[in-house]
């Protein structure tokens, strides 16, 4: 195995291990997600037709806010204990290491959201077909959210209590994902073709996958300066 592959493997293993040892912290965003979605029917009333109509939107907004909530942890502890410096000084391309970190972050926050979604879909009276479309849209959308979020987190990691600033930076970039992610489900519900929406979600993910690590590693170097 080449040096970079060894380093990436070690980084992913280390982060997974830290996630397991911090499982209560990691469960926080997904618990938030479940609570937000579960509380909605109490607020708008138990009308099945209404709930199945606004359900996908609720789930998307919940997923977006849960991701936002989890972002600060992405680089914060590495920045504070000096392991980020060691990573930058390792001589490996930081973009690749960043990608590894974002991948573990998505596995710890995005993936649990996907797993919780079928249960919540049932809760909101969605049909199986709508649920599958929603799941596919979330599978394409949540990695994009993590990747875009990593740029904002890297820019604000040097600032204490950066939550509000991070939200202001990242939220505008999240809106397109939310729009296409929610509208694909509405289209599926209305029996319209959904391919176009999926292409857009896919394109956004590929774009974020290609560009976000570059921006994130540059921002991290600025934050360390």
């Amino acid at each position: 195995m080449s040096g970079l592959a060894t380093a990436l493997h070690a980084l992913i293993r280390r982060d997974v291990r830290l996630v397991v040892r911090h499982s209560s912290d990691v469960a926080h965003p997904v618990m938030f997600f479940i609570i937000v979605v579960a509380v909605f029917p109490f607020g708008v009333g138990p009308d099945p037709a209404l709930l199945s109509k606004i359900g996908p939107g609720i789930i998307w907004v919940g997923a977006l806010l849960a991701t936002l909530l989890s972002l600060d942890a992405l680089f914060r502890s590495d920045f504070e204990d000096g392991t980020l410096e060691q990573m930058v000084l390792s001589g490996h391309p930081l973009t690749v290491l960043v990608l590894g970190k974002v991948f573990v972050h998505w596995c710890a926050t995005g993936l649990p959201l996907l797993i919780a979604t079928p249960l919540l879909g049932l809760f909101l009276g969605m049909t199986t077909e709508v649920q599958l479309t929603l799941l596919a849209a979330l599978a394409l959308g949540t990695p994009t959210l993590s990747l875009i979020g990593s740029v904002g987190t890297a820019l604000t990691v040097g600032i204490r209590r950066s939550g509000l600033l991070l939200t202001l930076l990242v939220l505008p970039l999240y809106i397109p994902v939310l729009i296409f992610g929610a509208s694909v489900v509405l289209a599926a519900d209305a029996g319209l073709p959904t391919a176009g929406h999926f292409y857009f979600l896919g394109a956004m993910m590929v774009l974020a996958l290609a560009l976000a690590p570059l921006a994130t590693s540059a921002a991290l170097k600025i934050s360390l300066n």
């Binding site: 040096g3 970079l4 060894t6 380093a7 493997h9 070690a10 980084l11 280390r14 291990r17 830290l18 040892r21 911090h22 502890s77 504070e80 204990d81 000096g82 392991t83 410096e85 060691q86 990573m87 930058v88 000084l89 390792s90 001589g91 490996h92 391309p93 360390l224 300066n225």
Partner: protein, 204 residues
């Protein structure tokens, strides 16, 4: 060979240092002296390529370090004022990670490094449970794992007891005798037998 040419640094509206020159050949050590807040850490970070100087150049083997930062940093071991270890990993896991992050797959074993810093009994405890001095020892253990020729150490002796300081001194001497280079800051007096120790004085 590490060389700093006329570097200067401004923090806020304060000039930390100006027109600072530094020359370090293989087998030489350099101690950066100065009171608190005189820019010792900043200088070390500039020499590592973590921060940029406001003017001047840092050269490694005659080339500006920015030209091939990756290669320069493969030759560099840095211990900052933070330990760079994860509190929720054990000493052994932290060192295994550091070893895997190194580009050159070196021969030294983690067991040796742990024994040399005197953590043999507690290498499977989470670093959260170790004392400040023991955590510093975990960071120092990285020096026994690296093949880097340039060591940049920011207060390596902080929180370390007399025995530990002696161990670190002998590790530094051994590194210098292998034609390594060391730049460090410390408030303790350091006894390095052979080899010349130059000093850089920073002042307010």
């Amino acid at each position: 060979m590490l060389e700093a040419r006329a570097i200067s640094c401004v923090k806020g509206d304060r000039l930390l240092f100006d027109d600072l020159n530094l020359h370090l050949r293989p087998g030489e050590a350099c101690q950066v002296l100065g009171g608190n807040g005189t820019g010792k850490t900043t200088l070390l970070r500039i020499l590592c390529g973590l921060s940029l100087p406001d003017s001047g150049d840092v050269l490694w083997n005659g080339l500006p370090i920015g030209q091939d930062l990756g290669r320069f940093q493969c030759d560099l071991a840095y211990i900052g004022h933070t330990n760079g270890i994860k509190m929720d990993l054990t000493a052994r896991e932290n060192l295994a990670f550091s070893l895997a992050m190194q580009s050159a797959s070196a021969g030294p074993s983690i067991d040796d490094a742990i024994a040399k810093v005197g953590l043999s009994g507690s290498d499977n405890l989470l670093c959260r449970l170790l004392s400040a001095g023991q955590r510093r020892r975990v960071a120092i253990a990285r020096l026994y794992l690296t093949r880097a020729s340039l060591w940049v150490l920011d207060e390596p002796l902080g929180a370390i007891d007399a025995d530990g300081i002696q161990d670190i001194e002998s590790a530094l001497e051994e590194h210098l005798s292998r034609n390594g280079m060391v730049i460090l800051t410390t408030h303790q007096s350091l006894r390095l037998g052979q080899g010349s120790v130059c000093t850089v004085q920073l002042s307010n």
